[in-house]
């Protein structure tokens, strides 16, 4: 199961444009005029997550997958209008108690290439 550990995916782009930020803020009950909500970064990590779970080499049984844990850490929060890039890398792939624990680390960078948000997504596959 571990041959996919360390595999890196192509970067994906997503924009914190005003309409996207407003829609996301309204969906999570945040003030749409107060900037980019913290978990807006999920828009990027959802796309890197899709790269991993649809990767044939990762051999993910999608019907048996649940999102187990999620963590973000911020060097700084993006501001409205920024263009962002997310790049995913498989961090771990472990079997425990008959379950598979697959971790995707995603680095989100600003337009200058500086990392600003890190995401760790743990998927559990029954």
């Amino acid at each position: 199961m571990s041959e996919v550990v360390g595999k890196q995916y192509e970067p994906v782009e997503f924009d914190a444009d005003e309409a996207a930020v407003r829609a996301f803020a309204e969906a999570v009950g945040a003030d749409p005029d107060a900037g980019v909500p913290p978990t807006f970064a999920f828009i990027g990590t959802f796309q890197t997550g899709a790269q991993m779970i649809f990767d044939e080499e990762a051999k993910v049984n999608l019907a048996m997958l649940v999102h187990g844990e999620q963590e973000f850490s911020w060097e700084r929060h993006p501001e409205v209008g920024e263009k962002l890039t997310a790049q995913g890398r498989v961090g771990a792939d472990e079997d425990r108690r008959g379950l598979r624990f697959l971790t995707l680390e995603t680095e989100i960078k600003d337009a200058s290439g500086k990392p600003i948000v890190s995401s760790r997504m743990l998927d559990v596959i029954r």
């Binding site: 996207a20 999570v28 009950g29 913290p38 978990t39 999920f42 828009i43 963590e71 973000f72 911020w74």
Partner: protein, 128 residues
């Protein structure tokens, strides 16, 4: 903020419309969140909220609690339970420690039956 302080709790009722709005805004349009029949066909009681919607609501509560989301340095949760339309989620937490201008918080989300849906929640927030 001081170690041991309890954070003011906040409750939110989850609606079908909010789940649909989150699906559009986040890009996660998995039919388990949108299509009642599909959700039932895969053994769920009906459409469920995204775990990331639960976390997003937790982050909104935390932002309101600390005043500005830009103070948030870290946020992590375990998804321990489902939330369905009509469920009311309550978010809360306490200050575990304060050190070097950073408060470490333990945070959680639970439903109206007192069942924890977000566990192992940790947040780090800049103080001042």
């Amino acid at each position: 903020m001081q170690a041991g302080d309890e954070l003011p709790q906040h409750s939110v009722e989850i609606s079908r419309e909010q789940i649909a709005a989150y699906a559009e805004a986040s890009g996660d349009r998995n039919p388990i969140h949108l299509d009642e029949e599909f959700a039932k066909s895969v053994g769920l009681p009906g459409v469920i909220a995204h775990g990331m919607l639960q976390m997003g609501l937790l982050a909104t509560w935390l932002t309101q609690t600390v005043g500005d989301h830009r103070k948030l340095k870290r946020l992590g949760v375990r998804f321990a339970g489902m939330a369905l339309p009509g469920d009311t989620l309550t978010f809360g937490g306490r200050v575990a420690s304060v050190d070097g201008g950073v408060a470490r918080l333990e945070v959680w989300g639970q439903n109206q039956r007192g069942e924890r849906v977000l566990t192992k929640g940790i947040a780090e927030v800049q103080t001042g």
